[in-house]
Symmetry: C2
Subunit: 475 residues, 2 copies
């Protein structure tokens, strides 16, 4: 037996799968490539799991080209997530299994199967997206920004003033960037090769991050209002840049018009939109116990209608002209619809996507799932995730060289231990290249190929330190 | 750094978890033990995932005894399956994670977490059950068996005649064992240490295995009828042996009274119990395309009421006196409620268990899930599974010495390749002890401890060859 330098390979790409958009009942051809100098194989088979019962197909050897021997097998798609794995039977009698976690001499688990997805597909453009994230308060000020009044919650800052990491400045320090400011710098993004602009929330709120929306029906006047968004999206589209917004489906701000209508008013129809915990509707569930962020109760049909269901919903409104957004990033998608005994997450993501398809199918839906995202990435709603363990965290662990420079936390404590995504693990772990691959593989093995391609491969985000803070000079 | 011979350990047992029956909102104390000569730890923490958002707790060092240093941490149960893992921060800065898959220097996935289960608990006796499976046609004939008429479907066999492995004999060869025959041999089971008797189906049917029931409301007269079951259960209980039955929730036989009422009769209320595929109700979905086993449609409220919901359901009827069964094994649980776009499996298992709790909570519910069972074993319904990849298959692969003796398949083909659970992998794989442990770990890592304890640790079953066929003499 030789020791091959390459290993048998399969993934969900067009080279290996006959269609990226299979339908239920469709016969799909899947192809495995095996290094030509790999030990001889007696048979290659696929094992699927339709309706959770094993089903096998035989692969046929197609031939050898460019050092690879190709095998092809038919699979009929029986479920909307139709998992499959490869079995390689060696002439020697040895068997190997191949799934999204790699090769194994032991049987493998259903969750790590390759998967054909028969849910509606994302638009093709998602696969080529080069995304640039903008936090509107901090990117650029247009000339009009000087004329915006300072809101009641704001701690005004001049443009060159250092960022204040300590509360309340952390959330309330206000630089006054606006949407026209972004528009004026679109050519900079074009120059970077960007074709997708992700705006963190543009709704009126009581913070610089605006994840505490007080309304979902208008653009914050401080950012230039609805007209500024229309101008920005038009100018971006003219340059081949698509634009997605940011919705908080887990919570609103406590100044939100729905919450204000419901608070202390048990008769209000909006009362069922939230989890009030007393009869007077003065106490309520909120995001991690933060009272300014009351949590939505997705059991409410009224909330669904106003927010995510149908052509008049918030989700639909911004995808239609004149706003014409190209999709949504969903904040705290991981917690959305989940509270204790309740889990309505799948319903929310499926209904949200259904509304988007009915409004404009040429849009994308990306979920913030900061940690292990695989359980929610079945292809039934989210096209991908803003998630850290499958790329950003392993990358930092592999490449960073912590500076040890002190920094301040939100509550004003000085730390010298490098920040690592809020995890109390003693700073940035040190991975070698093999560990980097191991971590990426572990956290993508449960994600169907098509959905994996929708994941944001972020270096960092508005919730993290900048990658450059700890990156070595040559990276 | 020393090379420890033992590793840090945690599991769900009372030594490591303060309660086996936590409630939502309850504070549970979990304990980790670390070999006293393990490298020094700076901190030990737990990471939970309530509502899919990370939550950390600090462990306190309790002290050292018998070579182990113990750490304890509090966890408040927020979800009915509340996952958690351990983080070990070494004095050296190295971190390790511990979950049900073992120790890892990389971050770990939610599915492999340890888990506290706040669903209703199984009865304590399940944990001490030593089960004996009886296939009633083949265990023992009472004197009364001679008086039973030969049914129309049967191919009569004398008691010492060899088993016919080829269809139709495979399903229709009829030895005429009966329930009184089992009763007469209960002391044999007592002598073996058995305290749980699992009967494959005792309902009237048209096969020796009776998985094609023609009714769920009476015991097959060929087995002695209802009175024989009552006698058997009473005699078993007198000896400290509990008895569970076997229900087919995926399908009935095509002779079933419900199916016969519905077939060709679109007006029948039972029409919605099955998946008829034509207007005349003559074509229908069935188990793996076998027309004698029409598949149940669990979207039907009528089917739920008659079969699994409430005190008059089939599920309840047999748990009450005079039958007083101690639980159910559910046949083809893995496919139950699943067909293409539909997946009602969780509803069926939850509703079934709820009915059992209301009827007699001192009962168990075990699911046949022949392959990877982890996805369905969340603790919400099934107490455990009859499943092969987590024990039986690795055990065979580790210990068997295939004889190479030829045998006949159901369709009469002679094979010399040893049978291995129907998998076309070229016979029984050969695992070393490390691979055995690896396979057991892989297929139990996703199963909460309490549910794992409910799994049947079968050597073989009525669906497999006998373990002894290929076992070496010393095993």
């Amino acid at each position: 037996m030789t020791t091959p330098t390459l290993l048998p390979h399969h993934d969900g790409s067009p080279l290996h799968v006959s269609t990226q958009t299979p339908a239920l009942g469709e016969l799909v051809r899947v192809r495995l490539r095996v290094p030509a100098d790999y030990p001889a194989l007696r048979a290659v088979r696929t094992l699927s799991n339709p309706d959770h019962e094993p089903a096998w197909t035989e692969a046929t050897e197609l031939g050898t080209a460019d050092g690879w021997t190709w095998w092809e097998a038919p699979i009929v798609v029986r479920n909307r997530r139709h998992g499959y794995r490869w079995l390689l039977v060696h002439e020697s009698g040895r068997v190997e299994w191949l799934n999204q976690a790699g090769l194994s001499d032991l049987e493998t688990r259903d969750a790590d199967d390759f998967a054909l997805i028969a849910h509606p597909a994302p638009p093709e453009w998602m696969y080529d997206a080069v995304m640039y994230q903008v936090f509107p308060d901090r990117f650029a000020r247009s000339a009009a920004a000087d004329r915006h009044p300072t809101p009641d919650w704001a701690i005004p800052a001049t443009w060159d003033e250092p960022v204040d990491p300590v509360m309340p400045g952390r959330s309330q320090q206000f630089y006054g960037g606006d949407l026209d400011g972004i528009r004026e710098h679109l050519d900079h993004l074009v120059g970077l090769g960007v074709n997708l602009l992700y705006l963190t929330p543009f709704f009126p709120a009581a913070s610089n991050h605006r994840y505490d929306a007080s309304s979902f029906t208008s653009v914050d006047p401080l950012l230039g209002g609805d007209e500024a968004l229309i101008r920005l999206v038009e100018a971006a589209h003219e340059r081949g840049i698509r634009v997605i917004g940011d919705l908080t489906t887990n919570h609103s701000g406590d100044r939100h018009e729905w919450f204000q209508a419901a608070l202390g008013n048990p008769e209000a129809p909006e009362g069922e939109f939230y989890y009030f915990t007393d009869a007077a509707h003065t106490r309520y569930e909120s995001w991690l116990g933060t009272p300014t962020l009351p949590k939505f109760n997705w059991a409410s049909p009224g909330l669904r209608r106003r927010f995510i269901e149908g052509p008049d919903s918030v989700v639909a409104q911004w995808l239609k002209p004149p706003f014409s957004l190209d999709g949504w990033r969903i904040d705290v998608a991981n917690m959305t619809g989940r509270l204790g005994d309740v889990d309505l997450n799948a319903e929310v993501r499926q209904l949200t996507r259904q509304t988007m398809i009915e409004t404009n199918p040429d849009t994308i839906l990306i979920a913030e799932i900061t940690n292990d995202a695989s359980g929610d990435l079945t292809g039934d709603g989210w096209h991908g995730a803003m998630t850290y363990p499958s790329f950003a965290r392993p990358l930092w662990a592999w490449l960073c060289e912590p500076t040890g420079e002190p920094y301040l936390t939100g509550d004003g404590q000085e730390r010298t231990e490098p920040w690592f995504f809020g995890q109390p693990v003693g700073g940035i772990p040190r991975y070698d290249a093999r560990q980097f691959v191991g971590a990426v593989t572990r956290f993508t093995a449960g994600i169907p190929w098509r959905v994996r391609l929708g994941n944001m491969q972020t270096l960092d985000s508005h919730d993290t330190a900048r990658f450059a803070t700890n990156a070595p000079a040559e990276v």
